[in-house]
Amino acid sequence: MKPEPKSLYDKLWESHLVTPETEQSPAVFYIDLHLIHEVTSPQAFDVLRERGLQVACPDRTVGTIDHSSPTLPKNADGSIPYTNDSARSQVEKLEANCKEFGIELNGWQSENRGIVHVIGPELGHTQPGKTIVCGDSHTSTHGAFGALAFGIGTTEVGHVLATQCILQRKSKSLSITVDGNLQQGVSAKDLVLAIIQKIGIGGGTGHVIEFRGNTIEALSMDERMTVCNMAIEAGARAGMIAPDATTFEWLKNRKHAPKGEAWEQAVADWRTLKSDEGASFDKYFELNADEIKPMVTYGTNPAMGVAIDENVPNADQKALDYMGMSAGQDMIGTKIDVSFIGSCTNSRLSDLEDAAKILKGRKVASHVRMLIVPGSQVIKKQAEALGLDKIFIGAGAEWRESGCSMCIAMYGDIVGAGQVAISTSNRNFEGRQGKGARTILASPLTAAASAVSGEIADPREYLNA
């Protein structure tokens, strides 16, 4: 008898069961890689101390500082320009916790520091077939490598530290197939905003999404990460893409990727990580990539998006009031105050190159503040080696150290109340980028074109100009 066809998610679920779920109890589920940062971990380490526990597998946990660490360069005296003491103490707590429990931390001294979801892949910690968790909802990013990766709360961070496991029930599955070609000026960000707009902000709740189809296969790893990153914005538990030659090529020779014979063996194993022909999903959704245009959001959640050349729809009045928008208004031409390029969604080298394509030889409009924040120190260096920093600074943008920055606005990088920011990050919730801040989500191309124009602008008009 032929075995039952399995989805990629089924395979990763089954291979990580320490004990299966029963009606009475969830599965004990093994975690291969645990990423931590300063914001959601301190209370978890306290629990370990209170109970006299050790970290079960310190070498399976990797830390970085990103959320409340400033992106300004160090002060002249070498001190770090924290904006407040609680941010400082949070970072220092993580440093102390990692030291005490023997965990690798990519801290201030490390050249590998960066946003947790950028450095995990960059250092080769993220690999196909791994289960990956982090106290951060955008952990879904790592699913781009064919890993099963999802966000957890701080209590679960403690569970993983103490036992390398969490208690889980299997989610439902959602297959999203995208076929066709993305048009010039249309990027992975536009693709994922279009998907979320169509399936809704709760459209993936309770599900693990597998993105499939020839459009997805043609995406680079950076683009796949952008897509999986935002799976959570449709409420999904995780988003994943089957690993393929693009994945292996990208990972080869990364610091923590297997080497030599172990690499060959790993690739052979990874090739089996795909949904079998005929595997069934709980839900299906299909989209034609040819039809997608650059997308922008007009409202206060990521599903409130439209194609850039459309009008603001007659939608949720509360959201429109918050955004200072009115139904029927053109999106193009909406005045902006801030343009932010960064975050774990769009802060990788290719995102910065996209921005540079538009900014080269142009100037940011005089009333616009533009902030460009690389996802990691490694990316910062790569960008500088290509001279991108000069293009950005020459255009009048600020070029920073890596970190979450204006995506979460936990410290100095904040959008002012009432200001409109076009942002390559992932959330346009009320107050996300600062109290009263109004966020329009877009791709790096669109954010750069709009920075130059001073109002929302279609990047396609800049690419050939």
Binding site: G153, T155, H159, A162, L167, I201, I408, R427, G431
Partner: protein
């Protein structure tokens, strides 16, 4: 150790908006704290306070709201970030249950670990509950909400989380008791 989750009766607080995200429940700028205490004051901060930190006209500032333990919220409550600070803020404020037609996955999981019961109800029941504030009795053991008019509304809860809540057990203890199995698993994949 969490306290055991006993049956209780309370008036509801209605927050009718849909998609109330965790940035509303607890804005990110308050996440630099390194303990779990004191987040109640910051719950829904931007709904409650203006730029100068003065009270806005919000139901969440009314003294009688402080006594309410049940939120009836619009569709898809708790979407967004994985911050457990969200349920910490709600329980510290005094809430013990949230009722909606959909509650985001990570929020739900975090809530259950912190004595905040997420209850999903049908659209029809939701319409009744969101129409006006009323007194409800929530009985986790019986998995039922009793309305003031006597109607009994059953609800689902994950059986393991239910036991943990009722008995005040925390899940870490359970995981630690599986250490032998975990070691075996590790040996089998090594």
């Amino acid at each position: 150790m969490p306290k055991s989750y006993t049956k209780f009766t309370s008036k509801t607080l209605i927050l009718p908006q849909k998609d109330i995200d965790t940035d509303q429940i607890i804005p990110a700028r308050f996440l630099t704290a390194t303990t779990k205490e004191g987040f109640g004051e910051k719950a829904f901060y931007d709904w409650r306070y203006d730029e100068q930190g003065n009270h806005k006209d919000s139901v969440l500032n009314k003294p009688e709201t402080k006594a309410k333990k049940i939120i009836v919220a619009g569709h898809n409550f708790g979407c967004g970030s994985s911050r457990e600070h969200a349920p910490w803020a709600l329980t510290d404020y005094g809430f013990r249950a949230v009722i909606s037609t959909e509650i985001a996955d990570i929020f739900k999981s975090n809530a259950l670990k912190n004595g905040l019961l997420p209850i999903i109800v049908s659209k029809k029941t939701h319409q009744k509950l969101i129409a006006h504030e009323q007194e409800l009795t929530i009985d986790l053991e019986a998995q039922a909400i009793t309305c003031a008019d006597g109607e009994n509304i059953p609800f689902d809860v994950e059986p393991f989380a239910k036991i943990c809540l009722l008995e005040g057990i925390d899940q870490l203890g359970y995981l630690l008791s599986k250490q032998d199995k975990i070691k075996k698993y590790e040996a089998s994949v090594a």
